[in-house]
């Protein structure tokens, strides 16, 4: 549920807007000129807003597709991201979106056709080489599917483009729409997990680990490629045992050789995002941990981070073949 819906006047009559408004039919609607009027003002408190965010329906006029940061990817050479949504219905305390935007309102861009045209254009630029498009950079790709119908529109777009791959990154169990569609080998649904202790403390509103594993298995059984993202690894007194337990829980259900890809990375936030988030959540233990600045990124002190990553890698590689493992090398 959202507290209110802000709609850009220009797209008030757009069929996708109308359908969303119909779904939220008792929610107050406020017309705005441009989403920036609501999303960008300085005097906003992300933490307070997150307790009852609004929905903003807008049009993204340009820069629909952007290059990913250097370390972002799973083995591909040409990596892009596109965001039909900014912000998320979940509330993970380590999420970089908290320090990225001033507003916690969920912003949906409904001009999917413009995104699709840009994706086709970028794909064509690469002369048949594989191109990766990541859709869960600024949001959870699937969590809002009943409202956005993102998958319903974009999976067929990628099914038509021979050399394009899309990663759907999610912590949700919203797979119903995917199950209705013909599996596309170039659309990877990547599920993120942290261990049970970190999940309970830090991932507010996120479905249980078991439910997410079940959703993953349902996709595997239907022929969809799935990925596993063990990111972020969070330090706590018992992280090693908790990580082993998480792997056992996942691989008791999921056949490791059927995974498309697996990635792993320690908790990290860009320095400026960290500053913002820490200011908002001074009471959060995660941010009062022993952390260090390295290459403009705040993460664990190097020796601790290396110890954590090498322990987790060692455990992980007992389950999966090395060819599908892609560490998050943010130090490079």
């Amino acid at each position: 549920m959202v507290s209110c819906v802000y709609v850009e006047t220009e797209i008030r009559q757009h069929p996708r807007t109308q359908r969303i408004l119909k779904r939220l039919n008792n929610t107050p609607v406020v017309e705005i000129r441009h989403y920036g009027e609501v999303f960008n003002p300085r005097a906003q408190n992300f933490r307070l807003q997150k307790s009852n965010p609004a929905l903003i329906i807008a049009r993204k006029h340009k820069r629909q597709v952007l290059k990913t940061p250097k370390s972002y990817g799973i083995g591909g050479y040409h990596n892009y991201y596109f965001s039909h949504m900014l912000n998320c219905i979940y509330d993970c305390r380590y999420c970089f979106l908290q320090g990225m935007y001033r507003s916690a309102h969920q912003l949906v861009f409904i001009n999917y056709e413009d995104f699709a045209a840009e994706i086709s254009r970028v794909t064509a630029q690469h002369d048949g080489e594989p191109v990766w498009f990541f859709s869960g950079y600024d949001c959870d790709s699937l969590a809002n599917e009943p409202l956005t119908r993102f998958v319903e529109y974009f999976v067929p777009v990628f099914a038509r483009l021979d050399n394009s791959w899309m990663e759907l990154r999610t912590k949700s169990t919203q797979i119903r729409q995917l199950l209705k569609l013909e599996p596309c080998p170039r659309v990877i649904t990547a599920f993120s997990f942290t261990d049970q202790h970190s999940h309970r403390k830090l991932e507010h509103g996120v479905a249980s680990i078991k439910k997410r594993i079940d959703a993953m298995q349902a996709l595997v059984e239907s022929g969809w490629p799935v990925g596993l993202r063990l990111d972020p690894i969070i330090y706590h007194h018992d992280y090693q045992a908790a990580f082993i337990q998480l792997l056992e829980q996942i691989f008791a259900v999921i056949e490791p050789t059927l995974l498309h890809s697996v990635s792993l990375g320690a908790f990290r936030l860009p320095k400026n995002n960290f500053k913002q988030v820490h200011r908002l959540f001074p009471d959060e233990a995660l941010f009062a941990q022993n952390l260090a600045l390295n290459n403009d990124i705040i993460s664990y002190p190097l020796t601790l981070e290396q110890e954590m990553i090498s322990f987790c890698e060692q455990q992980l590689l007992q389950w999966i073949p090395a060819e599908i493992y892609f560490p998050c090398n943010w130090h490079d």
Binding site: V38, A43, L48, K201, H236, P282, E284
Partner: protein, 269 residues
């Protein structure tokens, strides 16, 4: 703390009576009524007056951890009946053409409305807007001191094409007074929200005690503040912690001690 900003005394009277606010003898620029953590300031009519009053009282309370604001007043409308109470979701300023959006953060039963703030009185009402003379300037001024979630405007319809209350003070008080339960409930939710923010701040006198025990650079102050804000939030005995820290004789020792306590405390997340 919560501040009511109201143009006229007759509009403020129901709030003053309900909370038993007392007129402050020490303030002369504006009439201020107060009790405990609540203030009500009478700004006068119009944008300049309300902006001045808002900035003035914010300055007076600059040591408060966080301030929540309600602009209470009357408005004109051609779509609502006399006495309707409305919560403003959008404010437009007729002069500057700027829009402002108070954030509807907690569930309130009050009907939402779009308010157009005019510089001159007018009765040329559009159906989808209500009309006042302060909201835009109030919101613009208050959001310089508090985040938008803590700044709200509540308006009661006093003028419609069919009925005009005009300057009938008693009738204005009556129209507003009939909504005192809703107003008080809204104010309570807002105060609770504000407490969430204020709780995270370090009390000024505690902060001064800590800073008094050694010389801290700006960066060191920021590290101390982060550690303290975390430790205070973990139900640590504030007094005992301050006593521990003020025994230490250098900024480095204070920081090391506090950060060590934080690291110990965060082993289990």
């Amino acid at each position: 703390m919560l501040v009511w900003v109201v143009a006229l005394h007759c509009e403020a009277k129901p709030v003053i009576d309900h909370y038993g606010l007392k007129k402050s003898a020490s303030h002369h620029a504006f009439d201020v009524y107060q009790k405990d953590n609540m203030h009500c300031i009478i700004s006068g009519i119009g944008k300049t007056a309300v902006a001045a009053a808002t900035a003035w009282i914010a300055g007076l309370n600059r040591h408060q951890g966080s301030i929540a604001w309600i602009n209470l007043g009357t408005a004109g409308s051609s779509a609502h009946t006399l006495g309707t109470i409305l919560s403003i979701f959008k404010i437009s300023d007729s002069e500057s053409d700027r829009n402002f959006y108070p954030v509807p953060i907690f569930d309130s039963a009050l009907e939402p409305a779009h308010c157009l703030t005019l510089s001159q009185p007018s009765t040329d009402y559009q159906l989808d807007q209500i009309y006042d003379m302060e909201a835009s300037a109030f919101f613009d001024a208050a959001t310089r001191f508090s985040s938008a979630e803590l700044v709200h405007c509540l308006k009661i319809i006093s003028d419609t094409p069919a009925q005009k209350i005009g300057h009938d003070k008693a009738r204005i008080s009556e129209l507003i007074g009939q909504h005192i339960v809703e107003l008080a409930s809204f104010a309570q939710s807002l105060e609770e929200l504000n407490d969430q923010v204020a709780r995270l701040e370090i009390n000024q006198s505690d902060w001064e005690k800590i800073l008094g025990c050694a010389h801290f650079t700006r960066t060191q102050q920021s590290r101390v503040s982060k550690s303290l804000r975390f430790l205070f939030s973990q139900q640590r005995q504030t007094r005992a912690l301050i006593a521990e820290v003020t025994k230490l004789q250098s900024a480095e020792l204070v920081i090391a001690h506090l950060e060590n306590l934080c690291h110990q405390q965060t082993q289990t997340l």
